[in-house]
């Protein structure tokens, strides 16, 4: 509440009168400052919120989609419950459970389908402050980049349902991997070893929503060794080596650094022998060669707290323009099979792309957050674009998101079945 100007002058005069020598104070304390102090005097004490172990929300959403066929549209409604529990069972033992259940009624895929994603369920034992062991399903995640994370090897087959194409949402709403993981920290760095055993050779065909789907992330024995070391202030690169049954080891590097007050630069690179994405889609063997994947970029934050990220993305295993044309010549089934494989592996479907991501908290009005991305692939010049406007109340979010895939006929993103989608969702934190 702003004080009436006459009242402000009177109060300032009274304060000045109350003490000698306040002629100087008059110049140092403005009426606006007195207004602010009066406001602070009246501010109600915040309730004691201790932040318990639960974070639960319910979400309802309605979506309309335009598909590739002529006049083909479809609608869907979704109800979701999302929970995360994180608590200490004893001073050394911690339990984390993170789960999401989506009930989807889709006009093009009746009846109601339910998908449960057990994202995480693990026990963590801290032997001391610098030595920890985890056992259970963990969302093992690495990567310095924002849009494309070649070092995030455990993202493969991890999605059970997509509620948003936002890279942050894709990293969150995926099922973890059953692992035994140990970490040792030193003052200048640390080392982490992750062992992920084969628990089921193939993905589950069990339609039950509550299926653990062990064959998705635990279909082969895998390991990941990661280490980071502080070379200088602000320079702590992370080096990773990933190995898996039946495949050659892959080496990866993550690095980020400040370039001034407002810019963060980052880079993420992997290298290792492997097949092309097309060969993986066709389940072919042989023809393995060294291939690199990379994402290099920067994030700039403006004085109005708008952050813009530009990222150059490269996938040495994905087709370039000529290889894409060859794939198209093999027929539409081969193309769709390829795009499906890239989607399931969460890999970049083209050799080169640029990705721009912007996020603006409190955009134009308080509590309105805007996020958007554009991924322009440079082989066939098509685009995937997404925009979300989210308004936050105390315990409720209202969000509108729009996805648009566009490009010339026969280009990569134009070949996807989905042309555009509009979703309105309401989230209620319990």
């Amino acid at each position: 509440m702003t004080m009436h100007p006459a009242r402000r002058v009177l109060l300032t005069a009274l304060v000045a009168w109350a003490s000698p020598g306040l002629a100087v104070a008059q110049s140092a304390t403005t009426g606006n400052e007195l207004d602010a102090l009066n406001l602070a005097d009246r501010a109600e004490a915040a309730p004691d919120k201790s932040g318990g172990p639960w974070r639960i929300y319910l979400e309802g959403a309605g979506t309309t989609r335009r598909l590739a066929g002529p006049d083909e549209t479809a609608g869907a409604v979704r109800a979701s419950i999302d929970l995360r529990y994180d608590a200490k069972l004893s001073p050394d033992l911690r339990l984390v459970v993170s789960n999401r259940l989506d009930l989807v009624h889709d006009e093009s895929d009746r009846p109601v389908k339910s998908v449960n994603t057990l994202r995480e369920a693990f026990l963590s034992w801290a032997r001391n402050d610098s030595q920890t062991f985890d056992l259970g399903r963990v969302n093992v995640r690495h990567g310095a980049a924002l849009g494309y994370n070649p070092t995030d090897w455990f993202k493969e087959n991890a999605l059970r349902g997509v509620v948003s194409p936002d890279p942050a949402a894709l990293r969150e709403n995926r099922q973890g991997t059953f692992v035994l993981q140990g970490q040792q920290l030193w003052p200048e760095g640390g080392i982490t070893l992750t062992l992920s055993p084969r628990l089921q050779r193939h993905r589950s065909t069990d339609p039950s929503a509550l299926s653990l789907d062990l064959g998705a992330n635990n279909s082969r024995n895998r390991w990941l060794l990661g280490g980071s070391w502080r070379l200088a202030n602000g320079w702590t690169p992370e080096v990773l080596v990933h190995g898996s049954e039946g495949a050659s080891p892959q080496i990866g590097l993550n690095l980020s650094a400040l370039a001034g007050d407002a810019v963060v630069v980052f880079g993420e690179v992997t290298s290792g022998t492997g097949q092309t994405l097309v060969a993986q889609a066709r389940q072919e063997t042989g023809n393995e060669r060294r291939r690199e994947r990379a994402a290099l970029g920067l994030t700039y934050t403006t004085p109005i707290n708008l952050s813009v990220t530009l990222e150059a993305e490269y996938n040495g295993a994905a087709p370039d323009r000529t290889q894409w044309r060859a794939l198209q010549n093999a027929g539409p089934t081969a193309v769709l099979q390829f795009l499906n494989t890239a989607s399931v592996l969460q890999d970049l479907p083209v050799r080169r792309a640029v990705f721009a991501y912007a996020t603006w908290k409190d955009a134009f009005v308080r509590r309105l957050d805007l996020s958007a991305f554009v991924r322009q692939e440079l082989e066939t010049r098509s685009r995937s674009q997404w925009l979300e406007a989210r308004h936050r109340w105390d315990g409720v979010d209202l969000a509108v998101q729009l996805l648009l895939n566009s490009g010339d006929a026969g280009s990569v993103y134009r070949t996807l079945a989905l042309r555009h989608a509009l979703e309105v969702s309401l989230r209620w934190y319990l």
Partner: protein, 255 residues
């Protein structure tokens, strides 16, 4: 006469040096009022107002520990409320700033310009030893009304950043002459424009001495944009070195 003048001129550098030392000592004493000497934790509640209406509330727990070598504080900030932000973490070690979201297991490096908490900069909510990052000069002695409108006789200090690892380039600070309590500060950008004004108020005995339990921050451009930062649940707290490492963020669980 000339000898007397020469003597006076000769004495001037040492007087200037003493004044400079005194200003820095005042700043050190003022830092000691705000900052406990040992590792500690405190709950910070931020109440944000626009145009007189409360627009946002955040609750954080801050764990702070001074670096044994440089003397600057390093802080781990845990988001406690609202629920959508529960258990998100921010680690600040100079300009090395990381944000961790437990939902996506992602540790993201932030630039000093990125703000997570509306008007308050990330540097506002953590403990800062100003004397380490700024060179102080005494600009005079003034009597000003404090945050409770009680007149206080203060040293007016001018602070100039000596390091790039700071949120503000210039600061004007009023420190009470008798108690070294910070009363008020104005923070400026490199361009010289006023970014914000802060009043340190509601002094109470906390961790061995009188410390401010509320800071009122007023935006420099829009004075109707006000953030009240309330400090509660002060406590001595062991803050292991591991907590202040990026790789430990996914492991952090204090209670």
């Amino acid at each position: 006469m000339s000898a007397w003048l020469a003597g006076c001129l000769g004495a001037m550098p040492s007087m200037q040096a003493r004044a400079a030392i005194d200003a820095q000592q005042i700043l050190v004493a003022s830092d000691a009022v705000r900052n406990p000497t040992r590792p500690f934790s405190v709950t910070v509640t931020l109440l944000e107002f626009r145009g007189g209406k409360q627009t946002d509330t955040n609750t954080l727990t801050v764990y702070s520990k001074a670096d044994e070598q440089g003397g600057q504080y390093r802080s781990l900030v845990r988001f406690v409320a609202p629920q959508r932000d529960l258990n998100k973490l921010m680690l600040k070690n100079g300009n090395d700033l990381w944000f961790y979201d437990p939902a996506s297991q992602a540790s993201i490096r932030l630039s000093p310009q990125q703000r997570l908490l509306g008007q308050a900069s990330n540097g506002d909510v953590v403990t800062v030893n100003l004397a380490r990052d700024y060179k102080a000069t005494v600009q005079g002695e003034e009597e000003i009304p404090d945050g409770e409108r009680v007149p206080r006789r203060c040293h007016k200090l001018g602070l100039s950043a000596v390091s790039d690892d700071v949120t503000y380039h210039q600061v004007e600070m009023w420190v009470e002459t008798t108690t070294s309590k910070p009363v008020k500060a104005r923070f400026f950008a490199a361009s010289g424009h006023l970014l914000k004004t802060a009043f340190y108020r509601k002094y109470q005995p906390q961790l061995g001495r009188e410390r401010p339990t509320e800071v009122v921050i007023i935006d420099g451009l829009d004075p109707s944009w006000v953030t009240v930062m309330r400090y509660s649940a002060y406590g001595w707290r062991d803050v292991p070195e591991a907590w202040l490492q990026r790789d430990y963020l996914p492991r952090f669980k204090p209670e």
